[in-house]
Point group: C2
Chain length 322, copies 2
């Protein structure tokens, strides 16, 4: 449902005041007003003007987590971390969060307290203020909604990938549900570091699966990718999971959701620069996994130098897995 | 639960980065960064610096509205309007909304569409952009969470009321639940107009009841009020409701929630100026209902010029009505 409804919404919001970047990227980008007045023309990405970013994400018990088997503090931590991941995907710096809890009436105060332990931990770790929020009790499952604000100059958009760009991914992929997904490390520090070294043309964070989110970013940029499939960094968790899941480690890395790593593209000269830096220098390991090409879709090189189309897989909201 | 939990939170967030005005007012106030850097010292209210406001409010089926008897478009409208009311209470100008829906799995797309009709109507009416949002389906009641952003110079805080200030209230009070509560008129226009004419020292919007929200504002200012009870503007709906409710029209005006009118205080010279203006000139009627006094609590003058203490009543979240 989500994708088609967002398309409908994008159409319907055309008559409203606009923001520099609206529905459809990892976060919205808003212009700061000048002398108290909204800027007459939205600043284009690349304008070098300081802008605001804002994103929001809710997680619900029974849909996005399971309170019976997962610590509430970790769930609180995750509610902030997944929004920080969106902020990182814009190359932005987080500033403040607004946190809304819908709490089951039974044990509401205790649940709120435990959830907030994790929220406070994540906010402390990444220098985020808690600016406000709302609390309700109701006859329903625990639901946590976080809106995160931040600032950015020249945000990284999904739509900026250019033919010839190198495609990188952070960390290692797959098997997040074995545990990593509760304490994801949003790539805020890497984003800050990258901005000092290179010009990132496009970025997205992996929430629904490497191949699916890569495909979304490329589609927004109206380009495709030639992938070096064998270079995709596979996590240990994906290796372990594969022993019982009936799927290969690569399949896990290709399609598992909730990695919260970044995919980004840079020009060739920046790519060479980045490959010479250690994980320590960059704050985290990054891996080159392919090249942006003009032809849309995902392609892999097979023996004999032919290209074969490969298809994105992952978690599609409101539908079963493809 | 809410008030005590917020007190706990205020304590726990002291170690985090701070915002100019955090948890506890109608909206948070954040400093815009200067040259991409957060300002070293939070701007005090009254600094004349342009700041950002942000607030968030969720409404849930079965708690805050009833989808079986109320049109979904009205509920969508209300989800924006109640946040606009908070923005108005800060004397701020709204800019953009982030909207999150948690939808019952059955008929999710249809419900989302109807709710959005009202959301788009309210946003169109008050010049608000929709910057983003989130959609989930789950096994629970319809829940709408809106975060609203805006801008302000010298925000109106609950804590600014001064001894000797005149206390005003907008519109007429009570009986909102007879229907007005679904299409409240957030006092955005009045707030803009007031800023041109007067210096508002303190303000709050009425969400839980006139006397209760007045008491909250005065408590935040560490002052009290001498009220001219007979001047409190009583709505027609309160008159009608009183015919069957067993409560007087004044009791409805005193304690009914969801009026979404503003209470504000100004110095005496501004008060005289405001009283000379018509409702048309001000965009809406306002009524002087009392005077801020140093002695805390709410007081009314009784025959013989003695003062008698009166007690706030209204909707207290997480508790039964007092």
């Amino acid at each position: 449902m989500e994708q088609s409804f967002l398309a409908y919404l994008r159409g319907r919001t055309r008559s409203l005041p606009s923001v520099a970047v609206g529905i459809g990227d990892d976060a919205a980008v808003l212009d700061f007003p000048i002398n108290g007045q909204p800027t007459a023309v939205a600043n284009e990405p690349g304008s070098g003007v300081l802008q605001q970013v804002a994103c929001t994400d809710q997680i619900i018990d029974g849909v996005d987590f399971c309170s019976e088997s997962q610590p509430l503090a970790s769930i609180g931590y995750k509610s902030i971390a997944i929004n920080l991941s969106d902020i990182a995907a814009m190359g932005a710096t987080p500033t403040a969060a607004l946190v809304t809890l819908a709490l089951p009436a039974h044990n509401a105060t205790e649940i709120a307290g435990e959830v907030y332990e994790g929220i406070l931990e994540a906010c402390g770790q990444f220098g985020v203020a808690i600016a406000g929020g709302d609390l309700s009790t109701y006859d329903g499952p625990l639901s946590i909604n976080v809106t995160l604000l931040g600032t950015v100059t020249d945000p990284w958009l999904r739509s900026g990938a250019k033919e010839g760009d190198a495609i990188f991914v952070t960390g290692s992929l797959g098997g997040s549900l074995a545990g990593r997904h509760l304490r994801p490390i949003p790539r805020i520090e890497l984003a800050t570091r990258l901005r000092q070294i290179a010009t990132v043309n496009a970025a997205i964070d992996i929430s629904d699966g490497f191949s699916l989110d890569l495909d979304r970013m490329l589609a927004a940029s109206r380009v495709g990718a030639e992938l070096d499939i064998e270079n995709i960094p596979i996590s240990e968790a994906a290796q372990e999971m594969s022993q019982t899941s009936g799927r290969t480690p690569l399949e896990h890395a290709w399609s598992d959701g909730e990695d919260f790593e970044l995919i980004f593209t840079v020009g060739e000269s920046d790519a060479i620069k980045l490959e010479q830096l250690s994980a320590d220098e960059l704050t985290t390991a990054i891996t080159r996994v392919g090249t942006v090409v003009g032809r849309t879709g995902l392609w892999k090189r097979v023996p004999g130098s032919k290209l074969q189309r490969v298809f994105p897989q992952g978690y599609v909201h409101g539908e079963t897995d493809e």
